[in-house]
């Protein structure tokens, strides 16, 4: 009677969760403040807000802290939180022309109305580790800021808005007219209220990508850029900035400004296609929460590849792309293989043994079938 039945499952998982919480706190370093994460790891916060599909920097910072820096876990926590929030209403449609821009560029033209505004970017930095950062302190921070602003030249403030680069192409009638979105209340499909059915409307695809996992989107867009696709993209315009959010209140009247959200927008111009005689450019569009250029550009490329009239490659197959880019879904399913599967395995074992027995009883050396 050597075998003892497995008991204590409840306790075991309590302890496992407890151990996880302990791992993060066992060291002697000072507890991380949520504001530190929000201010100093702001790009992680931006990424997690986008994948969590809720604009809430404090909560995203909290999630990152709780998840010990795992962005998939953090995005998951935000999604679960989001699911508890009731829908109060809908914002007004908002043109990104009204964005308060902090970065804006175009690769399609050397110079653009309003100018190329580089903003804060890692694009031109040398990726050399800065060991000075090992020895940081509030005093050093203060001294740095003081020096930075000392004798800084006054320049003209940025204009309130910048015209859209693609408008240039539109005015010359060089851009294919976009399809009008169809769908539910407000005319737009709501992915969080209905599940996707294929073929999906463009607004559906864009929503799915806006909350998609950055790495997954990059993977598929990269496959297109490398050759599993032929759209030959050029960035018409990339913008990062703060978009005003307006809602109509129940008491009527003009829509009211309730806040602003930081977003990244990419408009990618793709190879021309002939439509009603005259050749034109087509547009790929991407928009996501926070400062996340890789994601916005990948979105824009996939937006375009999924419109291929004769889909052959993975990035052109709308169902393939949209089924596999949600980080919360993919991570959950990947993790689920760790759950017990012994009943189904037992069933497979039974079948394997049976079919092996059947093939072994066949005449040796013969093969009549």
């Amino acid at each position: 009677m050597g075998y003892v039945a497995v008991k204590g499952g409840f306790e075991a998982i309590e302890h496992a969760s407890g151990l996880l919480a302990y791992e993060r706190r066992k060291g002697e370093s000072r507890p991380l403040e949520v504001t530190q994460i929000k201010e100093q790891l702001y790009l992680a916060v931006d990424r997690v807000m986008g994948e969590g599909s809720i604009y809430a920097p404090d909560l995203a910072a909290l999630a990152l802290k709780q998840a010990a820096g795992d962005p998939l876990e953090a995005a998951f926590m935000l999604r679960a939180y989001r699911a508890t929030k009731p829908r109060l209403g809908y914002t007004e449609f908002q043109s990104t022309e009204d964005m308060h821009v902090i970065r804006r560029l175009s690769a399609a033209f050397k110079d653009i109305p309003g100018g190329q505004v580089l903003g804060a970017t890692a694009d031109y930095t040398l990726r050399l580790l800065d060991f000075e950062l090992l020895d940081d302190s509030p005093a050093k921070r203060e001294a740095y800021l003081k020096e930075l602003f000392n004798g800084l030249r006054e320049v003209d403030p940025l204009p309130d808005s910048f015209p859209k680069v693609i408008e240039v192409l539109r005015r010359e009638n060089l851009l294919v007219a976009g399809a009008v979105a169809a769908g539910g209340p407000g005319g737009v499909f709501d992915l969080t209220r209905q599940s996707i059915t294929y073929p999906a409307a463009r607004s559906t695809a864009l929503q799915a990508m806006a909350r998609g996992e950055t790495g997954g989107l990059l993977l598929l867009a990269y496959s297109s850029m490398r050759g599993y696709g032929d759209i030959h993209p050029t960035i018409g315009e990339l913008r990062v900035g703060y978009l005003p959010v307006k809602v109509k209140l129940p008491d009527g009247g003009e829509p009211r400004l309730v806040g602003e959200v930081k977003v990244t927008e990419a408009e990618v111009i793709a190879r021309f296609t002939s439509q009603d005689g005259s050749p034109k450019f087509t547009l790929g569009y991407g928009l996501c929460f926070g400062h996340n250029e890789i994601k916005a550009i990948s979105m824009a490329i996939l937006d375009r590849t999924m419109q291929a009239p004769d889909p052959k490659l993975p990035c052109e197959d709308q169902e393939f792309v949209l089924s596999h880019i949600d980080g919360v879904e993919s991570m959950g399913f990947c993790n689920h293989w760790k759950l017990p599967h012994y009943v189904t395995f037992q069933s497979d074992l039974d079948r394997l043994r049976k079919t092996r027995a059947a093939t072994e009883t066949k005449a040796p050396g013969g093969d009549p079938e």
Partner: protein, 303 residues
Amino acid sequence: MKLATWTAAAHRTASLRYNFAFIDEGAKREIRRKILKAVAIPGYQVPFASRELPIARGWGTGGLQITLAIIGPEDLLKVIDQGCDSSVNAVNIKKFVGRVTGVNITTVTREATIIQTRHRIPEEKMSGEQILVLQVPFPEALRTVEPSELETRRMHAEADYSRMWLYLYEDVVKYREISIGARYPVTVNGRHIMDPSPIPRWDIPKLHLAETLYLFGAGREKRIYAVPPHTRVEPLEFEDVKFRVENFQGAACHRCGSAATYLDEIIDDVSGRRIFLCSDTGNCDLRVGQRQESKCGSATPES
């Protein structure tokens, strides 16, 4: 129960963080509407929005959303995974539902009003007053032969199941048997081919003309489907190659002695030999209890 009684029973202390059963009323309504459609079209997969929950996708969020949408304070909930009440997945889910509803939990199958399960149907026959909610990883039975949802929708629409039959036929040609273990495809109500979830073949006959309602939830894939009571559920088979349940070669449960239940095979780490135990631990407890009763109970022999 009067409204006043409900209000009194529902009185909780100050902090109002979560709605009863966690998900908001709009989400519940959508799930409820879809459940009704699923019951009206047995075996057909109804798409639903599928909210995120604090438990990961792939870990039973579909079954959980169904449970959360139907459960009330008076329900008695049982949760099992692989037949076991204390398996990690079952415990996790029980913790969560208990926390957001305050319902009582049981391990006794016949007492439960709602049973949520992963990959097994309880051994004891369930009644018309009970509901079994199954967690489903792959709602589409035809996915084995066709990766595209667009195409499988068409196949179900036109009842064009030839490719599934061909797949089974090729199996028979290769192995003289249908080699599918769990997730054995069935025809429901003579019309739709359905994936019964990864339950063993042992459990398939329990679906046919049953007393109880079966609800299936796939959270990640966003599908709900159902088998109402008194509905035909027939495993796909050929006239000369019939559907067969698992064969334990005469083995019996090491704990309760049953040779009539689905068994888990375990390698005893002391002796190294194989022993078998009931997969359905609640049922095993019942049998052990009955055996003990008959041993030290009545003086008269049992019939």
